[in-house]
């Protein structure tokens, strides 16, 4: 049940504390007082929220151009709440495991010579060895060990990725977190091209 407070009649009620809650409201809802502000199209008066009975889903935001007649989407986050600095939120998000439903980080993976591409969710892995093992299993090939000096020498395959700048990089050179945040797609190179990598 949605409770909506109508303001057009409230202009003169500033001094009085009249309750306008509809019958059958939750006792939990603390916002019962009238708001002395004029209703206008531009933005909602502060502090008034549309509350569904099951969860509070107020959509008070900084941009404030909400049309009050439309119900806010469920679970919409309020600006600056909970009070955690964005620096901390960002740091934790990058190292968090993929616990959130549907929020994977899918990238395309191509293997030279294979008829079609695959997609994997990078968020599922926490380190290079895990990722490489998964790729080896998925494509039934061997990638071998990485070394800083030689890349994947000694193997027929070399995993590479396209980064944010559009460059093709060898997988394994940068810290894992940096890799995840810049990897746009993967390509497992094969043959002489692959053997040449790492010796530049």
């Amino acid at each position: 049940m949605e409770r909506r407070v109508n303001y057009e009649n409230d202009l003169n009620l500033m001094a009085t504390e009249l309750r306008l809650g509809l019958p059958g409201c939750d006792d939990d809802e603390p916002q019962r007082k009238t708001n002395p502000s004029i209703r206008n199209n531009k933005r909602t008066a502060p502090e008034i929220s549309e509350v569904s009975s099951s969860e509070s889903s107020s959509s008070i935001t900084m941009s404030g151009s909400d049309d009050q007649d439309s119900p806010p989407p469920a679970k919409e986050q309020v600006v600056g709440w909970p009070p955690i600095r964005s620096y901390r939120k960002n740091c934790l998000q990058s190292s968090k495991r993929n616990e959130v439903e549907g929020m994977g980080m899918y990238v395309k993976v191509s293997v030279d010579g294979a008829p079609y591409l695959r997609k994997i969710d990078l968020k599922v892995y926490r380190s290079y060895p895990q990722l490489l093992k998964a790729l080896e299993n998925m494509f039934k090939l061997t990638i071998g060990a990485y070394s800083k000096r030689e890349g994947y020498n000694g193997s027929d395959y070399a995993p590479t990725y396209e980064d944010k700048d559009g460059d093709w990089m060898l997988v394994g050179d940068v810290p894992w977190e940096m890799f995840i945040s810049s990897c746009k797609r993967l390509r497992i190179m094969k043959g002489s091209e692959a053997r040449g990598l790492g010796c530049v």
Partner: protein
């Protein structure tokens, strides 16, 4: 030392005229709620006029501590060039500068002892600032740069540490791997404070590669009392810190997503621990382990891994109560959770009478006691009643005016109060403004307090540092009344950056006492009444 709690309360000219032999300057700028995006950026708090004024008038300035101020690269250059004996720079929650500013600063400050960058935003200008430290023996005692989000020149850092015999505090950023950490620790076993950087290896450890002996490196740091970092922790490396747990007085795991099982072997040895910051990933069980061992705990902060209103809360009143029973000397607590009960809060009020700072954040708005369904009034009431030394309080959960009645009645020493999504009516704010004589800093958001309540504090506003009210029920008229009645108060009405005209309702009120009247650097979205 000159301490200015609000940089707009007094002008640089007046400050330098009055205090000529200042050696240390401590300035605070933006209000705290700006940290949570409740205000557009570029509101103000510029360090520039201060550094220029002091450069002219106080050449003996040695130390600058800034919190929530905007500092430019030019300001850093001015600082380094104008004060020959400059020794200490501490920037907390600051922004506006980058690695090129840092480069100029460190290259010119030959006497530098302290460079602490804490929770500040530093832009990556791709300048190698570490390389810019002058050659030869350095006087560095403290180098903290864990918040700097760009790679650094590790070889240069290693050389710097090697030639800094007085270095006691070193906090690395997440671009330093555990292998690199090892090399630094070997150079600096005299460290007392260490921020470990990523605490994970930078590259895939090959099969035959030998890992350095991290345990011995930690064991060699016999003076280590404060440990933090663990930015990208691979928990397998945690046992490396076992040797020093018994000496630790401060441990910051607040970026380490570890479980209770991973925490237990560490915490069970931390008998001397006084300050502990951690993520709620350790669950109630982890908190119980803390309570079992850390009898000397003074400060606890529990941060959420998943900072959303409707996330699963791994910690609850169970861990909270356990802490209250085990850590009787607790003075300061910051606790984020999804479920809480009045009973647990009341228990803490009784078990921990030394509490000075009590900040409880129940992340779901308007959430009642999850067992009884009652508002959280009685819990917070007990805190103000029983904790006689309480000076800082942050409330949350479902709260009626009654909670504020308690605060006004019993919170006689409260100086800082944070309120969000609470209260029923103007009475709540009145109780507080009329009842708390020591109130200095009041920050309120999304609570139903209007002009009448605002007026009830007229007798007290000159005693306060500031009042912040956003998304409440204030009107321009009401704020205008206050501005007229109190000439020494600067009354700022702040709207969101994209709003063109002024509305009848006030989005954000920020007001503070000042000797100077309206500031001349206010941006377009600020109206000073």
């Amino acid at each position: 030392e000159l301490f200015i709690g609000n940089c707009y309360a007094v002008s640089p000219a007046r400050a330098t005229a009055r205090f000529t032999r200042v050696r240390a300057l401590h300035l605070k700028g933006r209000p705290r709620f700006a940290d949570f995006n409740l205000m557009p950026p570029d509101w103000g708090a510029h360090f520039n006029p201060w550094v220029l004024a002091f450069a002219k008038a106080c050449p003996w300035l040695e130390k600058v501590y800034l919190k929530r101020m905007s500092v430019t690269d030019d300001d850093l250059a001015t600082l380094a060039e104008s004060f020959l004996g400059f020794k200490e720079l501490v920037l907390v929650c600051c922004d506006g500068f980058g690695t090129s500013g840092l480069a100029i600063f460190v290259s010119k400050c030959r006497q530098l002892k302290v460079l602490d960058l804490i929770e500040s935003e530093v832009s990556d200008d791709e300048t190698d600032w570490i390389l810019c430290f002058p050659e030869g023996e350095s006087h560095l005692e403290s180098l903290i740069f864990d918040c700097v989000e760009c790679p650094i020149n590790f070889e240069a850092l290693e050389r710097l540490v090697a030639r800094s015999p007085s270095l006691k505090k070193l906090k690395l950023n997440r671009y330093v791997s555990i292998g690199q950490l090892y090399r630094l620790m070997v150079q600096a076993p005299q460290l007392t404070h260490l921020g470990t950087g990523s605490f994970s290896p930078s590259e895939i450890a090959g099969q035959g590669d030998q890992e350095p002996d991290y345990v011995t490196a930690f064991a060699a740091c016999k003076s280590l009392v404060c440990l933090s970092g663990f930015r990208e922790i691979i928990p397998d490396y945690l046992p490396a810190i076992y040797p020093i747990c018994a000496n630790l007085t401060s441990l910051n795991f607040s970026y380490a997503n570890i479980t209770a099982e991973q925490l237990k072997p560490i915490i069970s040895n931390c008998h001397k621990l006084q300050v502990f910051w951690v993520l709620d990933s350790i669950c109630d069980e982890g908190l119980q382990a803390v309570a079992a061992t850390c009898k000397e705990l003074r400060e606890l902060r529990v941060f959420p891994v998943d900072a959303r209103e409707d996330s699963d809360g791994p910690v609850s009143e169970v861990g909270f109560q356990a802490i209250s029973e085990g850590c009787r000397k607790l003075q300061s607590i910051l606790y984020f959770c999804q479920r809480m009960t009045n009973a647990a809060v009341i228990a803490m009020s009784r078990n921990c009478p030394d509490l000075v700072v009590f900040r409880l954040c129940i992340m779901g708005r308007h959430r009642p006691d999850h067992v009884t369904g009652e508002p959280m009034d009685d819990g917070f009431g007990a805190i103000v009643m029983n904790c006689k030394k309480l000076t800082r309080l942050a409330v949350s959960g479902l709260l009626t005016d009654k909670a504020f009645d308690y605060i006004g009645r019993y919170g006689k020493l409260v100086r800082t109060l944070s309120v969000a999504f609470a209260g029923d009516s103007d009475m709540a704010l009145k109780y507080v403004l009329e009842g708390c004589p020591q109130l200095q800093k009041l920050e309120i958001r999304d609570s139903p307090f209007g002009d009448a309540a605002l007026c009830s504090g007229l007798h007290h506003y000159y005693n306060m540092r500031f009042l912040w009210m956003s998304s409440c029920r204030l009107t321009h008229q009401g704020c205008q009344q206050i501005a007229r009645a109190m000439p020494r108060l600067v009354v700022e009405v702040i709207r969101s950056a994209d709003e063109e005209e002024m509305d009848v309702c006030v989005q954000t009120l920020y007001m503070y006492r000042s000797l100077e009247g309206p500031r001349n650097d206010a941006p377009k979205f600020v109206t000073i009444l």
